[in-house]
Amino acid sequence: MTALQQAAAGAVYDRGYRPYSGPRGGRREATLALWRLSVRRALGLRRPWRQKVFPWTLLGLATIPAIVNVGVAWVIRNNPVEMAGFEFITYRDYVGVSTVLILFVALTAPDVVCPDRAQRVLPLLFSRPLTGVDYVAAKVGAIFFIVFGFSFLPQVVLFVGQMLVSEDGALKYFTDHAEVLWQVPIAVALLALLYAAVGVALASLTDRRIVGGVAIMGLAFVTSAVAGIVVDASQGEGTPLAVIGIFFVPLDLRDLVFLGHLHPVDSGLSGVEGGGLIAIVAYSVYVIAAFSLLLYRYREVDL
């Protein structure tokens, strides 16, 4: 029987098993793969459209101030009077806008860790060449990457847009504002690291996504409210207790990066001796505590 006749007769071929002889990575590749899968999950990629709506809407919202600023400047670029009176949002201010990304963390941090425990996927993950450290690095890294990206991209839009509409020309704008090229990445990286570490650490305490999300938002609201009360009670003199506002501590570090000192009005630590150092110590304690909790949670996996 010819091959054509066999095909016409609907022959079924058992292709058997083909061993794999290609490249095979170790821990680093496995960690990168877990990071990639977590990023994909957080952004809703290869998932139903409903999972895509929130992250991409949030990215759009985070970029709106930059687009509006650049757009207005573009419209009035030929009117020197209006242009002189128009105030762009500053790069420093824009880092503050990124605090809205705590919403994103509250939604996605539980989504990338809770199902692993709830659906008992962890034993399978840890049967791969992965350790608890790798798992934590991949999960925190995924959220960090997205928060950083969503904070950084609008700043890029703002920078490029302002270059293009600058009266003095793009090159002059670039050279005059070259310092933001290192200030912005550092400031948003500090914000993204704390948000990702604390968000994933809180989410790791529960199997249920909704509980994890509520816990993150609850921590954000309660700590910021308490910090607001103690700062108000200090009657403008500032208080070390302002660091209770855990998700606003990165903004003090932002000021250290952009201004070299705490902002006299915006920071609850301004007026406190050694306020900058207190902010750095508080930030470090929060991040170290979050990672310690995560490493403890994933030190051992039960089959």
Binding site: Y17, R46, L124, L303
Partner: protein
Amino acid sequence: MHPASSPPMLRAAGLTMTYPNGVTALAGLTVDVPRGSVGLVGANGAGKTTLFRLMLGLMRPTHGVLEVAGHRIDSDPVAVRSRLGYMPEHDCLPLDQTAADVVSSFGELAGLPARAARQRASDVLDLVGLDEARFRPVGGFSTGMRQRTKLAQALVADPELVLLDEPTAGLDPLGREEMLELVGRLAGFGISAILATHLLDDVQRVCQNVVMVDRGHLVLAGPIDQLMQTTGYMRVEVDGRDDAVPALAQALAGHGVTTTPVDDHHIDVDTQVHGDVTFDLVRDAVADLGLRLYAVSTRHRSLDDVFLQEAYR
């Protein structure tokens, strides 16, 4: 294919695992397990899951040495893990992903490049019979399909050894048959398998070797054929006299052969002492006694018999 002339797939020497709460799950387990399909059998609490945990490097033994494919677990558990596939007993799959995504993801997590992982996922899903359903979410799968998906993710990185924890649990008879058929084919692919189960029939059907553990102790280990032979006996059916069975028993006892009467016409004859010579002894005794010999069948004991005999001896 993996080389056959390599070290034992699993070597345990004095392996002891005592949990912080004082429970000793494994007590000085010493065993060499060859490549191929191996049944790890024992009742609940025998130490099977603990042995899997140790093999996966998820915890360290209290004492002793454990090697998988010639590599000591305690020196580099991650490297050992990259040679293993693991199929847990419980549900463990992300329910909102398609089978293709799940299996290729676990291929990537085993260190395969993304493109190779996708290709391998396609191949192994085809192999386990899920080629038509690969783009459906796992959450909509039946128990049998989920078991196949779990097996596919264990195989996707072409491991040297797969650890299968109760692979037929929860399956209907047809699903069980199909799963056992798949497991039975693994040795032919060059993939060794350790099948942890309390269903001795499953082991008897698809494994060449068995390791029996009970309350952390090794009961026995070896090739199943050999175990069945050395612990077997023949059943003899005779007639011709009212006391045919007692007479034959007495005659064989004179040659040091142990027998167990079954009824007036059947007697079980132990073949452990004399081996095949026992057949000659039975033939001669029947002839000398003037009995009619209707049947001689080599009746192997089941693994259940072996386990019960050895574990509670």
